[in-house]
Symmetry: C2
Amino acid sequence: MTDALSPTSQSSPPPAAAAPGEPTAGGLLTAHLTAQAGAFLRALPSLRGEHGGRPGEADEQTGDLLRCVRRVGGALHTFAPAVEAGWAQELRDELRWLLDLLTQEPACNRRLARLLGALDSLTGAAAPDRLPAQRGDERQAATGMLAGHPGAAKARALLERQLTVVRARVHTSALQELRSARLHALADRMTLLTGEVPLAVPSDTPADEVLLPGAAAALRALARSAEALPLLRVGAAYNGDALHRLRAEAPLPDADSALGTDDAPWLRVRILAKRARYALEVCGPLLAGQATVTATRLAALGRVLDRHQEAADAAATAAAAARTPRITPATAYVLGVLHADQRLEVEAARYGFGRQWQELSASAGAEWPLL
Amino acid sequence: MTDALSPTSQSSPPPAAAAPGEPTAGGLLTAHLTAQAGAFLRALPSLRGEHGGRPGEADEQTGDLLRCVRRVGGALHTFAPAVEAGWAQELRDELRWLLDLLTQEPACNRRLARLLGALDSLTGAAAPDRLPAQRGDERQAATGMLAGHPGAAKARALLERQLTVVRARVHTSALQELRSARLHALADRMTLLTGEVPLAVPSDTPADEVLLPGAAAALRALARSAEALPLLRVGAAYNGDALHRLRAEAPLPDADSALGTDDAPWLRVRILAKRARYALEVCGPLLAGQATVTATRLAALGRVLDRHQEAADAAATAAAAARTPRITPATAYVLGVLHADQRLEVEAARYGFGRQWQELSASAGAEWPLL
């Protein structure tokens, strides 16, 4: 991983001392990280089964906790020159472990919901009011590609069975790991973080000498990766010639979550987009509303990249399910259509990304001459 | 079928006599139809196996012959009030018979080529130089959705086998029908047409009193049908949510060429676009270059609608092949992907149509105030 900050930090003059009342890098970073650590600790009981009785409260708390985990991890990466390196790396590793642990089961649920929802749409079983508002006659004409297909119910049952097994496995393993000493140790680290952030810059370093270049570097890293994507190709709707051009999985991926090499740069851009968004949040007090459009567009970009990832993941799942021994040809056929459907969703997300990216880089350039 | 001309011809004042030197309706129609009939007769030997020895000459001649058949049929329909009704209807019926007879085998060849080409692209077997020019790194990344899939070769063999059987059947039946007295009778009718066109208007009726309203009515009939299509939906690339929204075949079509009810209005628009194009050709001498952009765009519209029809047809063929008894699940899976691929091509053609239609109606409105 290239440290996107290096060129900037090397070429910057040594930081001057902050004038009295001017925000310092340490002050802003500490305020951000301690607030996130506090929120993390408040949400932690959900993981220990100690949450309140209100239905859904545990899921909400886990969501809050994941938001903190992502923000702390992102800040430690983006503003690495400002924090003590060894400490930051250790904490990031532990946060990554927790993130992986906690996102698997929800991802599994979303994947199943996505695949079954797609199947329902393809068979025409989806309620017509889910369709966008259109003229009545257009609605009535809606029949799915797989309407009445004998393989649809079997494919549905197969996917439900396989994903339920996967979900049970990740659930059990997550429960075990959450009971380990590793979570206690991470909670201890976060408790310390609510009090003090180990800084690597003098305490009077002005915030805009360190944090703005860091955030700008995060945006530039995103821009570099985004512009290396085949935006020209995906920018033409349907690529001129159908699925032929959908570069999907590498030949025969053998794990159910295997994603194609073609997907990898997009998944990487998704991470960079999140990091850039979190970096702008940290710099919020310095920007005085200067980058609000950029921040909004980064959030939208993140959503389209989430959709990209989930569709790629679902496509790989459908392809893997089709390799289950002894399924019927009708089931396999339906899974083929479903695989193609989800790869098309991938392509649609890429198309959406291309359009959003143009708007984002325009607004970022206009709002933030630092870039 | 609504006779699009009726309102116009009823509301027009009785045609005045053409001034000397002014083109007459009968004169222009006769010139057009006799020229087409002559070209038909010159191309006819190809159907009787009497063509010259140059390779491909028979196919070229058959192509020429079909062009004449379509133009004569289109003119007789569009300018129906100007020609003797009973005669025109009989000739149109015979031309339709010949058209159906001669287009089946080439359609079968194109369908096979389209399906095998799509399979090759999906498996990555297509030559990379078939891809549009892009940056080198984008090209290298090309791997098909079905790369290395064990069902691809079987699906290929199945489609080849089935379509070869269909082709042999239509070939044999076409050969038989072409040896019948029906073709001789049609040739006789066309020979008569090279001499005289049975007109239903006085010989001094000015051309622009009859032919321009006819062509305008053909364009209006196209516009009415085109604007009844779900252009709003197909105008959003990818329809926002993937194949779910592709309304394809009616449930389980049982013939290999069965097209969905959803496809029918598009296939109808294809015929209307051809008719409008031929009508403008007849009116060429009256328009003095006035509708050249419209004519060019009608031709492009026809190509995108041809692609629509061929993809819809290929999708139905893939779906039908997947219902072959005793195929392997891998074969069925590949056919599912292929079906979805071709339905996506249908959707891409509709999207292309929507964009082209906007341009066409703008230029037709600007070029031709008659509309």
